[in-house]
């Protein structure tokens, strides 16, 4: 008998049971994929580093003499526990070509090496360790190279000092050290024979070879201080924590996806609870009849628990299997560059599915408490016992100026605040996520963060690797290369002032605390051109400004004198100001332009910056940028926005994630609108029939049902738009501060996107979903008033 009642119930309330099953599937799917993603992402970087065999410190060295010095240092350093190295040679973007053109303009030096010389484990796109590269093939790491659009099978050529080698692109590799968006040093992996073939050229072997060192050490601070003595030998160096920082954007994207997953899970559970509570409250008649027949509360409760247990188990099993591709989809934006796995995904997935079943039974247990309250009289009185605790109707049709449909829409929403409040909350969360991502993408795609790069705005930024390399190698001075660029510009009819920001690695000491600080210096700008958070710009040659991070690491503050060793000469420099910067993840300082270090080769340079003499407008600048791309044979010619975007490296990825989240949000919103509207129709069947009997046309009923969702969404969109900037600030500022921005960030948003495009798209999808579902009300006829239960 018990199971016959159940069977009948499942058959008769097919629609509501299917809706419930869908929500269970969604909950299980979101829960299993979200928890797996949480585990993957939170452990992600450590897992990736662990699998890759990352060490504590890395540096790149060029030339025999420098290599010798670094070897000696590492052999003698008391803090080094173990170190290894890779034989490499360095290339720049003009050495790697596709169809005779540069493959991609990477701003740093590229590292070319044989696969069997790899010290780190590098992974294929399938997360397998790359152990072998076939002859004639090349594998590449570095997220920025992906922008070239290169695909496996494409033909590339390496052209160096007269040697030209044709290679086939084998695929991208996941590289824990150099693979992130913020790294500008791609790695090219070749077969041993191909590698040696290129090295047959004596010039390459003599001037471009070097080593990459991987060092494990004991004391972090003492080791870093001791590296000051080899700082002049290094092309670049990183600590493990700095590499982690360069992956921060990947982690940030993963974290955004995590928030989304948790949001989706919360949405799903909320709707689930509502649906269970709603289905039980609608069953007053059955419950009343069962009580009238003498069934005890426990038996009735058991009946519902068995029913929901059946639905929950079915949904959880389907949801678990659906979570596997869904989780992969969520992580796809991150897993391109990282090995994001966890060894217990099946266990976590299963536990989550069991968790969903238990959660549903818990919901059901709490919702079925109501059964005690329902009496046999409910079966007779259609659930109306005359007991009332609060007034349902909140508006008066007689006093309202709204039309009947508009009035009923608003009145229905206000009369069921919990129900529609929940839908509003869900819509607000999903819309806000899209808006936050849009604002972040827009901010990263503007020049509002330019000041955080610690550069002065200019008309254009020009990347010329050859000239930059010359300054770093000491072949030419910065002043000389600046004049060269000015001459090229004048010859092409666009004269202007040219300057170049340079980086110097300078050992610093304060009260016995040492640090190897990256200092920015530019002879052609004034330190007052930059922004400072505290104090003032250094205006004398013995004055400096530091980031808060560096000042904290040295333990100094404004007014203190810090010892700097420049060109083997140690002097005291007064700290006059503090600033914030993304440069070197906030670990940098600025020297006064009056300090004469022009003859010292910098460790690194930014792009050549140009201010045209004729003060051209944006249109002319855009035309000149196109011309400059041909003149300098590079795609890396930027305006302020482009330069910021290039430095941040993740604007495009954030935009991709935003689009993915938008699509996902639209699917979720559509699904919720469809399922909720369908349950409303079931719940309101008698009212719909009554409206039709009274003479309401089908279109009025459809309008009412569609409008309710439209109004609720409009409210959600207004709330989301109003909270957009504060929410973006709350969500994004921790990430930006980790990258070096300790103060307020001025967020940019596109009013068209935030106030029109996204709301309109979300509104269109919601309204369409609700409208199409509400067409089902056409099947309810006026005559159904005679056979409503």
């Amino acid at each position: 008998m018990y199971f016959r009642i159940l069977k009948k119930d499942l058959k008769r309330k097919k629609t509501m049971n299917i809706i419930l099953l869908i929500f269970v599937i969604l909950s299980a799917m979101f829960a299993a994929s979200s928890v797996n993603n949480i585990v993957s992402v939170t452990n992600g970087l450590d897992y990736f580093f662990d699998k890759s065999g990352m060490t504590d410190y890395f540096c790149a060295v060029r030339g025999e003499e420098n290599t010798q010095k670094v070897n000696e240092f590492l052999d003698s350093c008391e803090y080094v526990t173990k170190y290894g190295s890779e034989d490499v040679f360095y290339v720049n973007s003009s050495n790697i070509k596709r169809g005779g053109e540069k493959l991609y303009d990477f701003s740093g030096v590229g590292i070319l090496q044989s696969v069997d010389a790899c010290y780190l484990n590098l992974f294929t796109s399938d997360d397998d360790i790359l152990k072998k590269v076939e002859k004639g093939k090349v594998y590449i790491s570095g997220a920025s190279i992906r922008k070239s659009g290169i695909k496996p099978g494409d033909k590339l050529s390496i052209e160096m000092n007269g040697i030209e080698m044709d290679l086939e692109f084998g695929g991208f590799i996941k590289d824990a050290l150099l693979g992130s968006e913020m790294m500008s040093n791609p790695r090219f992996l070749l077969n041993r024979e191909d590698y040696e073939e290129i090295l047959k050229d004596k010039t390459t072997a003599e001037y471009s070879t070097g080593k990459m060192y991987y060092v494990n050490h004991t004391d972090n601070r003492d080791f870093e201080e001791s590296t000051a003595e080899i700082s002049n030998c290094l092309i670049f160096n990183f600590t493990k924590s700095m590499v982690k920082m360069t992956n921060l954007m990947n982690v940030m994207i993963a974290a955004i996806l995590l928030v989304l997953s948790i949001g989706l899970m919360a949405v799903s559970f909320t709707v689930l609870r509502f649906t269970i509570s709603f289905t039980i409250s609608e069953e007053f008649r059955e419950i009343g009849v069962m009580k009238a027949l003498g069934l005890k509360n426990a038996s009735i409760r058991g009946l519902y628990l068995v029913k929901y247990f059946g639905i929950a188990v079915t949904g959880a099993v389907i949801g678990y299997f659906a979570s596997i591709p869904f989780g992969d989809l969520l992580l796809s934006a991150v897993s391109k560059n990282m090995v994001l796995g966890n060894d217990n995904s099946v266990l976590y997935g299963t536990l989550c599915s069991i968790g969903v079943v238990l959660m549903i039974l818990l919901f059901c247990w709490s919702c079925t408490k109501k059964i005690k309250k329902l009496s046999p009289i409910d079966a007779v009185r259609n659930g109306q016992t005359g007991e009332r605790f609060k007034k349902r109707s909140v508006m008066s049709l007689g006093r309202s100026r709204l039309g009947s449909t508009g009035f009923m829409t608003i009145n229905d929403i206000l009369s069921a605040p919990r129900q529609f409040g929940m839908i509003t909350l869900i819509f607000t969360i999903t819309t806000a996520i899209v808006m936050i991502l849009s604002t972040t993408a827009r901010t990263l795609d503007s020049d509002s963060l330019l000041y955080l790069m610690m550069v002065k705005p200019s008309d254009v930024f020009i990347s010329d690797n050859d000239l930059s390399m010359n300054t770093m190698a000491g072949i030419e001075t910065v002043e000389e290369t600046n004049r060269k660029v000015e001459e090229i510009l004048s010859e092409n009819g666009m004269p202007g002032d040219v300057w170049l920001e340079t980086w110097y690695k300078i050992p610093a000491e304060f009260n016995g605390t040492k640090n190897n600080v990256t200092f920015l210096w530019c002879a052609d700008t004034k330190t007052t051109d930059y922004q400072y958070t505290n104090g003032s710009a250094p205006v004398l040659e013995n004055e400096i400004a530091l980031t808060k991070q560096i000042a904290d690491s040295l333990g100094c503050d404004i007014g203190d004198s810090v010892k700097l060793t420049i060109n083997d000469k140690t002097d005291e420099y007064i700290v006059t100001g503090l600033f914030q910067s993304f440069t070197n993840l906030g670990n940098c300082g600025r020297l006064c332009e009056k300090l004469d270090i022009a003859d010292i080769p910098p460790a690194m340079t930014f792009y050549y910056q140009v201010d045209f003499d004729d003060d051209p407008d944006e249109e002319v600048i855009a035309q000149r940028m196109e011309k400059l791309k041909d003149i300098f044979d590079t795609e890396n010619i930027f305006d302020n926005t482009g330069f910021t975007k290039d430095c941040m490296g993740v604007a495009d990825t954030i935009s991709t994630v935003r689009d993915m989240v938008l699509i996902l949000s639209l699917i979720i919103i559509a699904l919720i609108s469809i399922l909720m509207e369908r349950s409303f129709i079931t719940k309101e069947k008698s009212e719909i029939a009554l409206m039709k009997a009274l003479g309401f046309k089908s279109r009025s009923v459809i309008s009412l049902h569609t409008l309710r969702f439209a109004v609720v969404l409009a409210a959600a969109e207004i709330i989301s738009a109003a909270l957009c900037i504060p929410l973006t600030s709350i969500v994004m500022e921790p990430a930006f501060s980790t990258m070096g921005a300790i103060g307020k960030i001025e967020y940019k948003f596109d009013p068209l996107e935030i106030f029109l495009i996204y709301p309109a798209v979300i509104m269109a999808v919601t309204t369409l979903s609700a409208f199409l579902t509400s067409l089902y009300t056409k099947t309810i006829k006026a005559s159904d008033t005679s056979n409503i239960e």
């Binding site: 005359g386 007689g398 309202s400 009145n411 029939a689 409206m691 009274l694 008033t785």
Partner: protein, 252 residues
């Protein structure tokens, strides 16, 4: 007298599990303006189906129904909806009302919905209150629908059915869910309405209710077996006795 409802050879067939169920078979009758006609018959005889079909709430299978001269079988769904809104009133056995509206708002809703109505919102509201006053339920105007008794609610349903000055009121067992006192009160109101000129067609099981009408149609297995004209001049008890005798003759 003007014919309000003219039913000719009306058939209604349902297909249930591939089996044809002829609920109404060639039913023909007329209702003149000012009449109050009761439809009686055993359960499952097709009384409610007849009411819903002739009022245009359900589609007929064959035959012709003219309401105020309009062939309702030829009308589209939207035209039927307009007809129900402006020219018909409905009272159901269960006192269906919109649960999010107050009693008064439920009553005036059809008037506000009607495109024919040109009166102001306040005029409609005061007319709704007048109707409620007339039926003795003025005090529940601002109450929610489940704050009032069944009898009060059914009288509110009568008010709602009257708000658009309909040509005819259709009532499906209007007293079926009420106790005797409430039932008498509701029938008293319907009789008053009829005396004021409103045409009414109602379905009932109750001979006492039917005895208040002017005519009774007796339907069995979808066929009208007989018609009985009630002598309204006689006393209520005599009318009831005479009707019961007739019903016995018909096999009730």
């Amino acid at each position: 007298m003007k014919t309000i409802l003219d039913v000719n050879e009306l058939c209604k067939t349902y297909i249930v599990n591939k089996r044809q169920n002829n609920v109404l078979r060639n039913v023909s009758f007329k209702i003149e303006e000012g009449e109050m006609v009761a439809v009686m018959g055993p359960s499952g005889s097709g009384k409610s189906t007849l009411l819903y079909t002739v009022s245009g709430m359900d589609r007929m299978t064959a035959g012709k129904v003219e309401f105020c001269g309009k062939d309702i079988s030829a009308l589209k769904e939207n035209e039927l909806a307009e007809l129900r809104l402006d020219d018909m009133g409905f009272i159901f056995q269960q006192m269906y009302m919109m649960k999010n509206l107050s009693v008064l708002d439920n009553i005036i809703l059809p008037a506000i919905k009607s495109s024919k109505s040109k009166e102001s919102r306040s005029k409609t509201t005061s007319r709704g209150r007048e109707l409620m006053h007339k039926l003795g339920i003025a005090e529940i105007a601002d109450n929610d629908i489940n704050e009032v008794s069944g009898g009060q609610l059914q009288r509110a349903c009568i008010c709602r059915s009257m708000i658009n000055h309909p040509q005819m009121i259709f009532a499906d067992e209007p007293t079926g869910a009420l106790n005797r006192t409430s039932s008498d009160e509701v029938m008293e109101e319907l009789t008053k309405l009829n005396n004021d000129g409103t045409t009414i067609m109602l379905v009932t099981h109750d001979a006492k209710v039917a005895a208040r009408c002017t005519r009774v149609l007796f339907i069995v297995d979808g066929v009208i077996k007989g018609e009985y004209d009630v002598d309204r001049e006689s006393s209520e008890r005599d009318r009831e006795r005479a009707l019961n005798n007739w019903l016995l003759e018909m096999g009730w």
